[in-house]
Symmetry: D2
Subunit: 228 residues, 4 copies
């Protein structure tokens, strides 16, 4: 089990960024671990599939896959098997990210598969209604991200606080315990603090950290901001 | 560069089989390397994404990804970047396997990306016409596999020799040098020998090896059969 | 507005069956109208896109599209526009049928589009959890169909009553008014009666009517069964 | 059979434009027929699925579907059956438009299905290599359209003549008789004349006609330009 995996939670999605591919994914994960060690705040990372094993070997913080497929072991080529990312060291997976959207019944199937494989499920949604739909599938974590703000540096917690509060309201009416994250455009500590103030338990972030000139410093700022 | 990467060529697709996931993928790759070392025949392996790095570290034979996405580095979640599998140690990738079929323009884009990344492209097709279409996209290797025979143990080289000879004829009219493989239902050395006799330069195989009781022995038989 | 569009509701999905294509789609729709007229029970039909206009001209019962796309008018080729099926005479549309599954966010978008276009939305789901997810998107009608029973003649209301009752329970906890249908394997009046007894407000049926030797008689039996 | 269906050929894709939906699709098709009658030039139209029947009833020029699915009659919901658009009056179909791209093996399957149904196949491609791949599947007509120019008003025949000439060269090497169209950004007669001069047998056009203030006049200009 990874050390530190509780709320508040910061998950850094490495996407397919050059700055977080191969050796650089390990370096970035180590910075995330350093921040987590220094602040006591939970920081998880979601590297590309081919980097999961080396990242998971290098750090003890939670490692997520960016996606898995709705399959069991068998005759599937080019698919991502839950058991494969698990054996490589992942403790969970993103599901239905806006850049990797899935059919509804596949999300349901994948959440069930994560449970069977003892992986944490983090399902993404693009608005409050979709978040409510996702919660009906009983994931461990839900992250709401308005796709139009992803990568813009315009934080959802400021530009569209109603998306966050609307999600929190609808989701909490169905499930009082699921972890709620928000994401999109988050680049500063105050964006993180605002996200928590709106009722979330953390953030899902990507370019704000991965493309930062100094990822360690920005991530440290994020972690400190969760304590305000 | 991997040792031994010439015709005739045997590529073992590990798919999402339990027998070829995680540690077992490394063990199976080592058996493939042993066969290649003992026989001097080129044997490549295509493990799952999360296993590419450990397999490529453990063996010197050619390692293929099972798929890559038509993307350049950037804001893509849950995608497979050419640069990522390359840095993990892959020397090439399967493209458009019948279990991971792609849009035509994406196949074209991916072949271009493999070239830019100095990866070998192995594009799959399901019949002679589609093989001819694929060759127009200028891949390094083409593999024809009638999907209805995959996993059946009924070898394409016997059950549908006209698919293989038709492919060879149409493909050679367009490109005299591309490597032509065939696959589906290949479980014995004689199936491999038949495939070569029909004009191919090797085979793409999966369950015939991965699910064999003794993969080493069967693969060794395959390799010997290429010398007949 | 079509005559008779209230609970209990029988919707006949014409799929891409020869028996319900072109002129035959109009003939079948007329039989459905006859049953509706004779019994006073609401019967809707869902013909193929190219048949919507002629069916809607021929009958006054509710006509549904089998699918629409998550698009507004514009530069989309080969898509199905809400406004197009509406102008052709449809009063609603199936969404996310198990043979035409959609991404979660697209279902959400399409339900919103139906509302803007004053079309009824009938969203399909494959099990109780997915049904609960669908209801969060606020469709007018939901239909639960276990895909493994579709076309089998083994009625969901008998083979998997727990799927129906589970759906009714989860859905009613979220929305007390949405119309709940069930489908798959329904071929006899008693299957319909059983469906209503389990708490649904009707059935979504296809081969049970379309492929019947005498669709009128079977559909009449269905309609009578809703009155038991 | 429609009157006038020979080279040079102008096909107007109605897409999902409001200006070409429902009654307006019939009005626009009549303008196309008027131009064809007055000039003797072949003009085809590709309305939305739900409009095929009324358009085909109203005019005698060739009517195309914008897409069909790779299916035979059967248990398919929300799909477009060849036999359905045929019975509605279509004489052919667009396939693989850049806004409705398909898997390679599905394009192959659909071309075969059009042949069995006596429909003309018009397969789209985005560049010369993909055009060459498409021709291997033996369609009746091929249309090359660089997607980045679609809807821009920047004509492919001027902005990227090498895409057109490259396509003509590669395609003619494989098939001397297939009809070659080009499209994207074509808004004036001189664009059409340029397209023919580059070796094509006509154009595939959409917004240039559909969104024109006076579609009849522009289309008439197009038709006259084919005679230069």
């Amino acid at each position: 089990m990874p050390k530190r995996f509780q709320e508040p939670l910061i998950i850094v999605n490495f996407k397919a960024y050059t700055e977080a591919t191969g050796r650089k994914s390990v370096e970035l994960a180590k910075k995330a671990e350093k921040v987590s060690d220094e602040t006591g705040v939970s920081v998880g990372v979601a590297p590309q599939f081919a980097d999961i094993a080396s990242v998971a070997k290098a750090v003890e913080i939670p490692v997520f896959a960016q996606h898995i497929d709705p399959i069991k072991p068998g005759s599937f080529t080019g698919h991502v098997l839950a058991g494969s990312v698990k054996e490589a060291g992942a403790v969970g997976t993103l599901i239905n990210h806006s850049e990797r959207q899935l059919k509804l019944s596949d999300i349901n199937e994948i959440v069930a598969i994560t449970r069977e494989n003892n992986l944490r499920s983090l399902v993404c949604a693009n608005n409050p209604n979709v978040s409510a739909a996702v919660v009906a599938l009983k994931p461990d974590i839900i992250a709401v991200e308005p796709p139009e703000l992803i990568g813009t540096g315009i934080p959802v917690s400021k530009a569209k606080p109603e998306v966050v509060t609307g999600t929190v309201r609808l989701v909490r009416a169905i499930n009082p315990r699921v972890t709620i994250l928000c994401g999109a455009g988050i680049t500063r500590g105050e964006d993180v603090a605002a996200a928590l103030k709106l009722g979330t338990q953390g953030v899902l972030v990507a370019s704000g950290i991965v493309k930062a000139k100094d990822p360690y410093t920005v991530l440290r700022e994020f972690a400190e901001a969760t304590k305000r």
